[in-house]
């Protein structure tokens, strides 16, 4: 069951990108997502594409994994592409199919928008493929640290995230077990009308919730027994190191943004 999930699929490897500080990676992606919208002509898109491919190359992640990540959104991309091709009326007319006319501007726009999607998905999957989820949590906790001053419970939120991550496989296993137990008693999850199927999920969800609550309670007791008192006076086992390569990556990103500003039309 776990194998099918792309979200949070971390591929351990030894690369420059894997070794980066998760804070740097998060900032990088945040800025990159913004500057993607600066690109508006072939030169800028080529530049962005080359940059992304360079990052992929550095990460040693096989292109196959990134393409896999694309699959769920492929239909969306195709749909927006076709929408642009058929409904944008700019530039010269290139073809006419029945009542639909296709203009040059439409095709160009469709290609650009699809490229934008590709780039967004490539870069964000690169984050989850090269960073263990727990490091992403650490990075977020550290980046949002200043919000503690305005009483945002940053530590508690991060702990909640990491506990959820830790319990995903446990609860998936449990779902599987409950499903089999209910199937053994004649429950049918895979046929019938849609309302029937929705109803069939109830005997799955209720035991799952009951057990999740029980787990939560036991976990809370165990945490207390091990001295958990909230964020105060707590030290961290995982430390984040901002190194030269992180600064380099940020500088490179700065240079890219500047280039995009100059080259965009």
């Amino acid at each position: 069951m776990m194998e099918k999930l792309i979200i949070g699929r971390y591929l351990p490897a030894d690369s420059v990108v894997h070794g980066m500080d998760p804070r740097a990676k998060l900032l990088f992606i945040f800025i990159f997502v913004l500057i993607i919208f600066l690109a508006n002509n072939p030169v800028t898109y080529t530049l962005l594409g080359a940059f992304t491919l360079f990052a992929v190359f550095l990460s040693k992640v096989k292109l196959r994994f990134l393409v896999n990540g694309l699959k769920p959104v492929l239909i969306l991309i195709l749909f927006t592409f076709l929408l642009h091709v058929f409904f944008t009326k700019e530039g010269d007319m290139i073809a006419r199919i029945g009542f639909l006319t296709i203009y040059e501007g439409g095709v160009i726009k469709g290609v650009f928008i699809s490229l934008r999607f590709f780039l967004l998905i490539f870069v964000t999957s690169l984050l989850t493929l090269t960073t263990p989820p727990i490091s992403v949590t650490d990075g977020i906790e550290s980046l949002f640290g200043p919000l503690r001053k305005i009483k945002v419970p940053v530590h508690e939120l991060a702990l909640m995230m990491s506990i959820s991550l830790r319990f995903i496989p446990t609860l998936l296993d449990e779902t599987d077990k409950i499903m089999k137990a209910q199937m053994a008693r004649g429950a049918d999850f895979s046929s019938g009308s849609i309302p029937d199927r929705v109803k069939a999920v109830i005997p799955l969800l209720i035991p799952l919730f009951v057990s999740a609550f029980k787990r939560a309670e036991e976990l809370a007791v165990a945490m207390e027994a091990r001295g958990y008192k909230g964020s105060e006076g707590r030290t961290k086992y995982r430390l984040l190191h901002w190194s030269l390569r992180d600064t380099m990556a940020m500088l490179l990103l700065g240079a890219l943004s500047a280039a995009l500003f100059m080259l965009r039309s």
Binding site: I163, R215, A222, R226, G227, T235
Partner: protein, 279 residues
């Protein structure tokens, strides 16, 4: 005997909104370095006792003192530093996403410095033989391995006492043995005081001293040999007498001269096949 580490005097406890007492005037001491088993069937009050020793409940009457601290809200965190607890369900006490994160959790809570923390995580995992699993995620571990990680998490805090609250009851026989061997080693080599709360008399047979609880009262206290003398009385208390003990009893009844009553099968088998050698 040696120094007292826990002293329980006349403790009673009643859950709110319940008429009967879960514990009634229970008194006993625990000595440094010993292995004490607390046995009793479900509802005998043994889980309540476990929770009380960790400050999750406070006595309604009587006093509990652990490592020189009286159990009050004021001292509860000092007591939790002295007494570490391993719970029943291996999954529901694993907080970290990986083995090393989990062992470090207790250290993080206590504000231990990073350098010291790393040393202690490695040292504790070494003691339970789990160093090879440093970066392993919990769902790739067996129940016995998870419990060993939980033990590592407890000993990383350097407590004087480790309390096992039915810690082996959800494990298969192999995992049970794995965990009991780890605890035995810590007890013998590190001098850690062990309190194991269980309904499994086979586990209790390994202890130095056994306390039997029944309906919230201390029923009897003695060495495993003393306790197993009770035989049918134990069955009445809802405790299963281990197979080896039953078997040696039956063999003795049948006229076979055994040197002693055996608590585990291996000992019994060893005596049986060497029985006729000397003669």
């Amino acid at each position: 005997m040696s120094e007292k580490v826990i002293s329980i005097k006349g403790v009673s406890f009643q859950y709110p909104e319940q008429e009967t007492f879960a514990l009634r005037e229970v008194s006993f001491d625990v000595y440094k370095g010993e292995w004490l088993a607390v046995v009793g069937h479900n509802g005998s009050g043994k889980s309540t006792l476990a929770k009380m020793l960790n400050g999750l409940h406070y006595p309604s009457q009587g006093t509990v003192s652990i490592g020189g601290y009286k159990l009050t809200e004021e001292h509860v965190w000092s007591i939790r530093g002295k007494l570490g607890m391993v719970f029943q369900n291996p999954d529901n006490q694993f907080v970290g996403t990986t083995v090393q994160d989990d062992v470090a959790f207790g250290l993080e809570n206590n504000g231990v410095e990073h350098g010291v923390m790393q040393e202690r995580v490695f040292a504790s995992l070494e003691k339970v033989g789990m160093t090879a699993f440093l970066n392993q995620e919990p769902h790739h571990l067996s129940g016995g391995q998870k419990q060993r990680v939980a033990i590592a998490g407890v000993i990383a805090l350097r407590p004087d006492i480790i309390l096992l609250d039915e810690a082996t009851s959800m494990l298969d026989p192999l995992g049970r043995e794995e965990v009991m061997n780890t605890v035995r080693e810590l007890n013998e080599k590190e001098g850690l005081t062990v309190i194991s709360i269980t309904h499994d008399l086979e586990e209790a047979a390994k202890a130095d001293r056994v306390i039997v609880l029944n309906e919230g009262r201390l029923y009897i206290e003695g060495t495993p040999a003393d306790i197993f003398q009770l035989d049918r009385e134990l069955v009445q208390l809802g405790l299963g007498v281990p197979f080896a003990v039953q078997m040696s009893q039956l063999l003795a009844d049948a006229g076979l001269k055994l040197s002693q009553r055996h608590f585990n099968e291996e000992e019994l088998v060893n005596e049986l096949w060497t029985l006729n050698f000397e003669k």
